[in-house]
Symmetry: C4
Subunit: 203 residues, 4 copies
């Protein structure tokens, strides 16, 4: 277990440094997690700068979001991570980032629709640009259990969703591994910048 925890922590620290270089984790926004086992995850602790994480910036939690390491408080948004791990045992990593484009689009749209972009193939089971990618936008809330219930219900009805936005608050996406979730972040941020630039040209 310890070796796995150490490897995942290293991968999440590197992910945070990359996101910081792009401006996607401003201030103490964002949070990252990875699965340690059937009933346990590793997650960033509350109040850290996600671009400057060190080994101390993480703790273990169960799938109900209870801390398993004494004296540490998990991110306030832990419930939005655990809902995904409970839904799907194949999910090994959940990443939440907070870019300008994700924020601006989420404040102007009810969903982000992507058609005809080759990069849509970055997602599992998509093998052509000639597909239709829909990223829903949920209203923001400080009541995380309520927000997690909204997400859970949406996924019951739309199981193939690859990520979602919270209004004014950023992006959640996931994958089997940290590398997979990271690829989804890169693909979605790329698409958000494309959609923003298209909107500017369309006015």
């Amino acid at each position: 277990m310890s070796e796995m925890l150490s490897r995942l922590r290293t991968e999440l620290i590197a992910a945070g440094q990359f996101f910081h270089s792009r401006g996607w984790v401003p201030a103490t926004s964002s949070n990252f997690s990875a699965r340690l086992g059937d009933a346990e995850i590793l997650i960033t602790s509350s109040g850290q700068h996600k671009g400057k994480l060190d080994d101390g910036g993480f703790l273990r939690a169960d799938l109900q979001g209870n801390a398993l390491d004494e004296g540490k408080r998990p991110s306030a948004e832990t419930g939005l991570h655990t809902v995904m791990y409970r839904r799907d045992p194949a999910i090994g990593c959940v990443l939440h980032t907070h870019s300008v484009n994700a924020t601006v689009l989420s404040m102007r749209l009810d969903q982000v629709v992507c058609d005809g972009y080759e990069v849509q193939k970055a997602f599992p089971a998509v093998d052509t640009h000639d597909s239709h990618l829909l990223i829903p936008v949920f209203p923001n809330s400080q009541d995380i259990p309520a927000l997690a219930a909204v997400v859970d219900a949406y996924f019951d009805a739309n199981p193939h969703t690859v990520g979602y936005l919270i209004r004014g608050h950023g992006l959640y996406t996931w994958g089997a591994t940290v590398a997979d979730a990271l690829r989804h972040i890169e693909a979605l941020e790329f698409l958000f910048e494309c959609v923003y630039r298209q909107m500017l040209l369309d006015r």
Copy 2:
């Protein structure tokens, strides 16, 4: 004292390198300070590039802005730092940066208003996105004592303000520590980019 000075200098040098990587301290613009005690601050000296500071780029000053190190001249805008330290003993760091967005917004608006952004929670005593953040814009002036008096009067009337813009000249913000002030810079620059992009979409 010497150890504290050394640590704060190191933190301000690193802050400057980060700002430079983002393009927020062009030419010899911007200046940074941190509190050394009840009546003393550390501040960048005049004419330095703030992205390439070394230990020699700082001097000590009292809260009236007088140099306490012989042969060095504090930044011309020292009075805008000292007014904050005099107002509030809890302030440990004042940062002034000079980004394109801060400059452009300050030339077109009398205040920057932010509503519904999750990142507003980066500021003390804000615990929901459902708050209202107002960043005032003051006219620029080469008469720093006069400008400091305008700032001082504004804060008497609006004590919860977290930062302000000077027209065509950039951003001032602060915090209990260098890390707090840095978080405020990151949050405000993120918000300025969001507001600019919203303005483009709104035309």
Copy 3:
């Protein structure tokens, strides 16, 4: 041969790191190749992140796109590389990147036309800004042989073309050496950003 392969691999790895720093190779998009001889190329293997390539991320292929290294699968788009090497023995490197600007322009234009830009001189046989550079846009397809045939036919009619876009999918360009192809990427991406900004100002 081995020394040449090693040198070209190193150059392509560095090219990928540079493109990643600019955001031009998101997720596992893009692919790179270089000529090893009359009938052999080095090409990135399928599914790699092109900003984090290592020596294992490449394989040798013939000019029909067949793998020459056992157990490795070349990029799905190998046929768009080999068509160029077959057409012109002077081509030593083919680079495909995937930037936001290339994507957005390719979804709105049938060709990108550049006039009066000094940087047009980055291309062979262009010695004045007072030239006319035309980058065609081809419809995207998951049928690479069909797409390669479209490209081949276009070049029969337009032999002096220096690069092309695939709709929603990015840029292909080439050169005698990796350095030459890299210079063409830089020049074309520069021009795409100029054209995008001009389009915004023209609305």
Copy 4:
């Protein structure tokens, strides 16, 4: 002399790396020079990538633009450097860069006018934002002696000009030292981005 040459070369190499990180020296555009004495300059040689210069990428030239080092060819635009060194013995460095903003603005405006920006104080003899900065735009030409004559005549009439643009071709600025010229590049590029963003908001 040798120590001075070595120091200036190191400073120009570092300047090129910084410009490259900002995207201001795409492909083999741009060129840099510094004064070695009353009648001699150091200048980048033709065809180099200005973000990856090494010691071999420079040569000495006289103030008429003749190479003083055998076997090396100075930049095609050497005449635009030497005209400045001949005009003013206080000039120690001339930098030419090639950014997207400089290019786009130069293709839409006959002059770039800046008013009310604090960063205008980056230029000699400007001590207030309440000044008026005018950057002229000259038509591009491959006839460098003719272009140098246009520049020379303009400066006879407008001796306080701090930089100029060539249409579709980028920026020339200078200073007493490499650091001074670099500060002017940073200030002008900052202003160009501000002016571009203002133009977008003004449409």
